[in-house]
Symmetry: C2
Subunit: 592 residues, 2 copies
């Protein structure tokens, strides 16, 4: 079936059910970033494969709302599908709601599947549309009727991590959550977000690409804990272990009944961005609600010492794989055909040699020359570039290891860098060093770290359109809240022991892209009459191309940081290299 | 009457009217920072003279809620008054509402005078208290009954500024406001904030200390403009001019009737922070409301070229007065008795010699040694220090001129600076230079400039508790919104041609305080594929004490900035000095 046929079928269904506009968000009932195949409604219907977008279909219009990361890709993928690209002004904002409010007549009907929309967005849609006398039906799944070969839910095996790996028992985690629930006055807590649940129960799986999570829900009450999961995924041993932690295991599908059965006098804690509207609507109407960020989202973001120690070990593994890879690449360029796709495969191959490697933490972005200027570029057989011994190559990649999650970007020169390339590379490096070396008082928000990082680029009237950094999980999602380093006024403070990326960039359309990314951990560094201050420990261990550095643009502090960093990288990685690699590596990490 | 007697009288009144708790905010019906004497209820009742605070009185408790700037002062002034100091966690937050919610029993009654509380705060109070079944009476003035010799409203003369001074006619300003009202769908606009009204009507006066504003209200509609003002304040000529600008002049007291007479189908634009709740409550219930920051607040913050040119001239005058003053001070120290109070008087004397000087833009803060560590210190006859030929002296002062408003802080050494004093002084200077020299993309918020300014202090695990800067009016209030440079996530972008202060500091309790403050204007500096970028022009012209600079803590960029700044200051100010001053000044501004 072509997208065109599917669209016709959907419109027939809409007519049948008297729906004037139907909304299809890129989501699942867990509000995941990466979706199980069953929930790839947007991709199935429109052909668009980006990670974020919303379709809105009326009788005479079909649009995809997505953000600037995907304008080029969406433009290509939507050709001849019947869908038009609508460019979002603000990433993630449900701007289609205002469009609907403006374009629909009074007494029109809008429908969506409440399982695939967050509480927050659904409430906004209902409020905005109902004040214009537009009817909203929030529990209608029209896709299921027409997607005849829709994949079923994944049935991959799941497993528990031991406390030597996680540093904290399930019982401790639940006790911490209960303490926060008590503070907020809540007596029940519904959790739908998969990384929260994986963290709480020390549970991992393979239901979703790149994210080692398991489809599940949980309800935590003062005395009871219920985990809703396809039991066949778990071994008998693990089920036993969970029982010993006083976790009652229910079938995945039993969540709906469990929500409707909550005590009528319960106060239910729900995260409005991390639960779907459909299940929120099942909460008995007599219950009070506390709507806030999940306690586990905060607790998970602050890593414990065991997690940090494992992450440091993981960085040695990941750095070794990267060094193997970059050595191979430099030795092979000009000798065999290497494309942007080969790179991703080869890099995964080197990572796979490392103990504990589970898979990629996201699809590798390998952008050669002009492709590097597209921050979320993914090479395909049709558009892939073949490397030549010149130009810049940007590689953003990461691994999931049983002992941590990595995310790193490096740019290398394949030959003859231009003065502009060197200047821009050095400015991005300077920005990365500025962000990495700042001290900051406890209470500092991500937007403050973001400004300090951008300053060296602003000095030269340059800037980048994406955020400066994101939280990273421990053998969990590579994008993890609640904190973020970006320009938006998100009022969440950086706490000690959070892991975050610092990844400034510069993108010259049609020519090249530069981004340098390390992961850092925040730590308390000083305490005095002015308060408590934190600093960042750089976790990532991989050389930074110095042939692209224009030393005149750096001051002594930056040069000292770079040389110290390279000394540490050499010390930690060189024992894992063979002799020829080590010789080459000595040169790559020598002081400038 | 002692505060104790007044409190007893108030409690009798409360009993009589069945009020269990009475709230007295430091405010007037215009939501002013500086109040006419008639509205100094808080000071009259409690004796506390700070610029911000709220009293809450119950049968068995009387408290003053104020912020950290005033903890020391309030502690002293509240002694034996019956009032206790309650320390605010967040400056300006109405935290007493939660206190009332917690301490009052259900079915209690809270009263306040809605003329002295903003729409925003009153709504929050009513919502919070009513959900706990506490009754709220929002229109009761108990002070008027017991303050028998309460001052009447000021009757100072007011006058219009000509367009050569303001750069924009009343008609143009009203047309710009109307265009923004149309965009928001509003058909009527109530304005209570005095600096907004002064700006719109090119009107100035002396009703309030330090702020050249006139007690007034205004209503702007698509066809009509009404200004509510005591007509006897204006000359016949000015009344004539306003009529020619199609402004209808009404009596000050007529505002209430005018609000109740708004058309029932009007959509009324009101700024919830810049209007009192009482007058908001008078708007006919059939009217719709648009609640947002006044359009004039945004328009006023962006200075026109005439205002900027005048401000630059004003800075020469102000800088000359400051140079006269610092010369006099250095020549007089050790020769005659000089106190913190003498300083304020003498500085005003020098400013008064400048053409167009109208008065101080705020009470001079002159803090010697330990007093400098109190950011809002005001010397009194009881606590004033006498200067000696050693230690640091901090002077924060400003002037109102018919051609602009100034605000400047300098710190000088009276002799034998310690290495710590020099280090801290240099770090504050470095922070001021970092903030002043940053480029930033249009769209940047104050919290980003704030972070960049603080960075040099954070590097040394130091920080300051106040904001980095505030907007400044053009011959208007020295504190002017909507923009601000501070750590809070206030989502207002810095636009070209805004005037803002940059004033980092360091305060060592019991020893000394350092703050260095210049005013800057933002300008467009570059436009390219990365967007539009702005920079700051430093407006303030006064030497910065170099004997306190530890050059080792500065890099070449900072030294270059300082030397360039001093070259400009010498060039602009020296023509206005006498020979002995000029020789001395040459040395003060020589390159380091």
């Amino acid at each position: 079936m072509t997208p065109f046929n599917k669209l016709s079928l959907l419109r027939e269904k809409m007519k049948e059910k008297n729906i004037d506009a139907y909304i299809i968000a890129s989501a699942d009932p867990h509000m995941s970033e990466y979706l199980p195949d069953r929930y790839k409604n947007m991709e199935w219907l429109s052909g668009f494969t980006g990670s974020a977008g919303t379709l809105v279909i009326t009788a005479d219009f079909a649009g995809l709302w997505t953000d600037s990361r995907y304008f080029v890709q969406a433009g290509e993928q939507l050709k001849d599908t019947g869908f038009e690209l609508v460019k979002l002004k603000n990433q993630g904002a449900p701007e289609y709601i205002d469009w609907l409010a403006k374009h629909l007549t009074q007494d029109a009907t809008v429908g969506f599947d409440g399982k695939l929309m967050s509480i927050a967005v659904a409430k906004e849609a209902i409020e905005t549309l109902q004040t214009r006398n537009i009817r909203v039906i929030s529990d209608i799944d029209l896709i299921d009727d027409i997607w005849t070969d829709r994949p079923s839910l994944p049935t991959e095996k799941a497993y528990l991590l031991d406390e030597e790996t996680t540093g904290k028992s399930v019982a401790e985690k639940i006790s911490e959550i209960r303490s926060r629930l008590r503070e907020s006055g809540a007596t029940a807590h519904l959790i739908s977000s998969l990384d929260d649940i994986s963290w709480i129960f020390n549970l991992r799986g393979s239901d979703v690409k790149c994210n080692p999570v398991v489809l599940s829900f949980a309800i935590i009450e003062p005395e009871d804990v219920q985990l809703f999961i396809d039991k066949t995924k778990l071994s008998g041993d693990d089920i036993e272990k969970l029982h010993r932690s006083k976790v009652s295991i229910q079938e995945y599908d039993a969540i709906e009944h469990a929500i409707t059965s909550l005590p009528g006098d319960a106060t239910v804690f729900v995260d409005p961005k991390r639960n779907c509207f459909a299940y929120y609507s099942l909460i008995p109407t007599t219950c009070k609600k506390v709507e806030n960020i999940n306690p586990s989202t905060f607790l998970k973001a602050v890593k414990n010492e065991v997690e940090l120690t494992h992450t440091r070990t993981t960085m040695v593994k990941d750095g070794t794989a990267l060094t193997n890879f970059f050595y191979w690449l430099e030795m092979s360029i000009g000798k065999k055909e290497i494309t942007e796709i080969t790179i991703a495969e080869k890099l995964k191959e080197f990572r796979a040699k490392q103990e504990g490697f589970v898979g990629e933490s996201f699809d590798t972005i390998a952008g050669y020359k002009a492709h590097g200027a597209l921050p979320h570029y993914k090479a395909t057989e049709e558009n892939k570039s073949t490397l030549e011994p010149n130009g810049l190559l940007l590689i953003d990649s990461g691994g999931q290891y049983t002992t941590g999650t990595t995310d790193i970007t490096r740019v290398i020169s394949l030959g003859n860098p231009s003065p502009e390339e060197k200047r821009d590379y050095t400015l991005v490096l300077k920005a990365m060093i500025e962000g990495s070396t700042t001290n900051f008082p406890t209470g500092t928000k991500g937007y403050q770290i973001d400004a300090i990082t951008r300053r060296p680029l602003w000095d030269h009237f340059k800037n980048y359109g994406h955020g400066t950094g994101h939280g990273v999980g421990f053998f969990l999602n590579v994008h993890e809240g609640p904190h973020v380093f970006n320009t938006a006024n998100i009022n969440i403070a950086i706490e000690p022991n959070m892991i975050t990326s610092i990844e400034p960039g510069l993108y010259i359309e049609g020519r090249y892209g530069i981004r340098i990314e390390n992961l850092v951990a925040s730590h308390i560094e000083a305490e005095n009459q002015f308060g408590q201050f934190q600093c960042f420990e750089t976790l990532t261990l991989c050389y930074i191309e110095t042939s692209l550095v224009d030393k005149d643009l750096l001051n002594d502090k930056h040069i000292e940081w770079l040389n110290n960093y390279h000394a540490v990288v050499f010390e930690k990685i060189s024992p894992h290299l063979d002799n020829s690699e080590r010789e080459w590596f000595k040169n790559k990490t020598k002081a400038i």
